[in-house]
């Protein structure tokens, strides 16, 4: 599938399938093409080239109303003068279904969403979280073939966000409605979806389960985009037949296989090592293979994020995430160690993960 706006290509040769009953997230920075993609699926935007199939049925030429899709928007898009029950009944009422059937289906949805206590309240009297649950109820009651969630949590406060994240995931699993979630927030995508399609500059970078995306990023973009704090990306150089961090002079504990992979591409543009912060170990006593100086410590409760600089080469910094509270102080000298089998290698030329392409 392609989408052009004048000379700008918003979506480039996208091939992507969402399985029946699956929650698939489209994730990427603003301008990555995720919104254009979901608008084409909904029929709000035309497809420039390519086709969209619901099952075997091509739908790209069908009007939005003929696609049996429900949408949940970030601003809820409820009817403010109606009650929760009236809002949820609305899509059924305009189809003139028998009132007994409407009542039964609405009651079922109210149950599922724990909205019974609020059923006869005006929606504008409710919290943001309850309003968004009402909007999800209105989507579910139609038994749609597909629900599109467009940044459903971005208007909510922290705790409501966390609560509704859990609820949406549970409802989607229980109702087994095929769903697509559009978000720029990796935490939401990871928490709520079965698989995540990561997009950048209109191109699909990788589609995988949250776990596989985290463990095996296809390229440097995905590696850096997924994970917070982001993966350390450290340029390598060859010295005396071994690979060391260009900005620190530290030899990396790489196995034979990784060294061979790196040497195959080194001649061209070089290799960057990737180390997730939680795979960096620190030692208060300064012991271990290398030494570094603490620049900054950010307590996060069960972990501490500690930024350190190599002792003799202050030009670069390395971020570690260690079990907390650990009490590291700025200016302290610490020992530092990388967990050998968790080091990633990327080709500088095209950013690809040397292991996933071999």
């Amino acid at each position: 599938m392609w989408k052009h706006y004048g000379d700008v290509t918003a979506v480039q040769n996208l091939n992507l399938a969402c399985a029946e009953g699956e929650m698939l997230a489209l994730l990427g920075p603003s301008g990555c093409g995720k919104s254009s993609t979901v608008k084409m699926a909904a029929g709000i935007e035309d497809v420039s080239a390519g086709e969209i199939f619901f099952g075997d049925r091509p739908v790209s030429r069908l009007a939005p109303a003929a696609r049996n899709i429900a949408m949940v928007f970030e601003d809820y898009a409820l009817y403010p003068h109606m009650t929760v029950r009236e809002n949820i009944s609305f899509p059924l009422a305009i189809r003139r279904l028998p009132s007994a059937e409407i009542e039964a289906r609405v009651d079922k949805v109210l149950d599922l969403l724990a909205l019974h206590p609020f059923a006869d309240r005006d929606v504008k009297m409710l919290s943001g979280g309850a309003q968004q649950r009402t909007s999800i109820g209105r989507a579910l009651v139609r038994n749609p073939q597909l629900i599109l969630f467009d940044e459903p949590l971005s208007h909510l406060d922290g705790d409501q966000k966390v609560h509704l994240r859990t609820e949406i995931k549970r409802l989607q699993k229980l109702s087994a409605v095929t769903s697509i979630l559009v978000t720029h927030d990796q935490t939401e995508a990871t928490a709520m979806s079965d698989r995540i399609a990561v997009m950048n500059h209109g191109m699909l970078q990788q589609v995988a389960t949250p776990h596989d995306l985290y463990e095996g990023p296809a390229n440097m973009f995905v590696a850096n985009f997924i994970g917070e704090p982001p993966m350390n990306l450290l340029p390598l150089r060859a010295s005396d037949g071994r690979l060391e961090l260009a900005d620190a002079g530290w030899g990396l504990p790489l196995d034979e296989r990784r060294i061979r992979l790196a040497q195959d591409v080194r001649a061209a543009d070089g290799v960057t090592a990737g180390v997730r912060p939680e795979h960096v170990r620190l030692r208060h006593d300064g012991g271990g293979p290398f030494r570094a100086i603490v620049q900054y410590c950010e307590p996060r409760g069960d972990t501490d994020v500690v930024v350190v600089a190599p002792l003799e080469h202050g030009a670069t910094t390395i971020t570690a995430e260690v079990p907390g509270p650990a009490g590291y102080r700025p200016e302290a000298i610490v020992g530092i160690e990388f967990i050998a089998d968790r080091i990633y290698l990327f080709a500088n030329a095209d950013g690809r993960n040397l292991e996933s392409s071999s």
Binding site: G158, R165, L174, H211, Y214, E215, I226, P299, G301
Partner: protein
């Protein structure tokens, strides 16, 4: 309340630059926005104020800035009661949650505006480009606010605050509209700038974890009252009240409602639905003081709770309510009657949603709260590597 909790004694020189509120109250119509709030921050200290929206954070800032008058209590800046000092003369650098940018001025002019004001002495024009650069908005210098996104406007307002040399810096939700990566970067940059100043900074945020990550000390405020002022580590390990515990953590501490069975000293049991949790040490001693059959709340952090296959010895049977696998950890929610219990661990839950799983609680790491007052009455300290499970008896 000791407003200096966790601080070393103040020297006279430092007193001259600190901010102090004493028993400040403020009521709007029938709403008590601030109820006898006392706190102090020393020069170069970053004090975070955290609490849910409506807790009183913004009112507190507006009183310090001189935009509201307190009904009672005193506000001292640099040791001086500022009741009679007008807002413009207080030299407070205030970043508003609503940004309050001048719509007809460019980004650069907005940032420079406090330096041009009549009271703008002691400001730092040379630092403007440096600040615009690290906030990643220098390329937008010539734009008008209407041409910016929400996150960009927020950074302009932040830049305008950071270029000043004020008596106090007030940051009201300074980074709430930015993405996670930029927030992470700016937390350390802002902290570096404001803690190198000879004046204190108050950073308001509804996100308690943000407060924990940036501040020297954190004041938790709820419904206009200070619940606790403590260092991040103290707040994490020893939350003073149920309200504090409910705010701090991602996800926050599990709070199990239940009652105590205390028949003899040293042998108390906490009962929540079918769970029976034997209490030991300080928890058992505190349980005795509440008395037999007293209502209590037992707190335990999600990273200390584990879910095992149903029927695992030492586990209690619960239902798997939800499962959210993140990259480096997973959060599983279990249901026990009406109570939802979260477990944060390296792996996904060992069951399908709706199926039975075994709940495994730790041997230590609990907080016991008095349900009536909401106050923490005992902490059960946890050795760093102690994750052995506490044996759960079925009723």
């Amino acid at each position: 309340m000791n407003v200096h909790a966790g601080l070393r004694p103040t020297t006279p020189a430092e007193l001259a630059h600190q901010i102090e509120l004493g028993n400040v109250s403020k009521t709007f119509a029938a709403v008590r926005a601030l109820d006898s709030v006392s706190l102090a921050a020393r020069p170069g200290e970053l004090l975070a104020i955290t609490g849910p929206s409506g807790a009183g954070k913004t009112t507190l800032c507006r009183i310090i800035a001189g935009l509201e008058t307190p009904d009672a209590g005193v506000c001292r800046i640099a040791g001086r009661d500022v009741a009679s000092v007008p807002a413009a003369a207080r030299r407070v650098a205030y970043m508003f949650e609503s940004y309050a940018l001048y719509p007809h001025l460019t980004v650069r002019e907005n940032v420079l505006s406090p330096l041009m004001a009549p009271n703008g002495r002691g400001t730092d024009i040379g630092g403007v480009d440096v600040v615009l650069e690290f906030l990643e908005i220098r390329h937008l210098s010539a734009r008008l606010p209407a041409e910016l996104s929400g996150g960009q406007k927020q950074r302009v307002a932040l830049a305008r605050t950071l270029v000043q040399r004020p008596s106090v810096t007030l940051l009201d939700e300074p980074i709430s509209h930015l993405d996670a990566k930029l927030r992470h970067k700016l937390r350390s940059e802002i902290r570096r700038i404001v803690t190198s100043r000879p004046s204190p900074t108050l950073w308001c945020t509804p996100d308690a974890m943000e407060a924990l990550s940036v501040a020297d000390r954190v004041a938790v405020i709820d419904a206009g009252r200070i619940e606790q002022i403590a260092t991040p580590e103290e707040l994490w390990r020893r939350p003073a009240t149920v309200r504090v515990a409910r705010l701090v953590g991602d996800p926050p501490m599990n709070l199990l409602p239940g009652r105590l069975e205390s028949h003899a000293p040293g042998s108390s049991t906490f009962v929540c639905a079918e769970l029976r949790i034997p209490l030991t040490g300080t928890l058992a001693d505190a349980a005795i003081t509440l008395g037999h059959d007293a209502r209590a709340v037992l707190g335990v952090r999600p990273n200390l709770v584990a879910l095992a296959p149903a029927g695992t010895p030492g586990s209690a049977a619960v239902e798997l309510y939800s499962d959210e696998p993140f990259g480096k950890y997973a959060i599983a929610t279990a249901r026990l009657g009406d109570v939802l219990i979260k477990a944060k661990s390296a792996r996904s839950a060992p069951a399908r949603i709706g199926a039975a799983v075994g709940l495994v609680l730790p041997a230590a790491g609990f907080v016991l709260f008095d349900a009536a007052s909401g106050k923490a009455i005992a902490f059960d300290s946890l050795a760093a590597d102690d994750h052995s499970s506490r044996v759960l008896k079925d009723r």
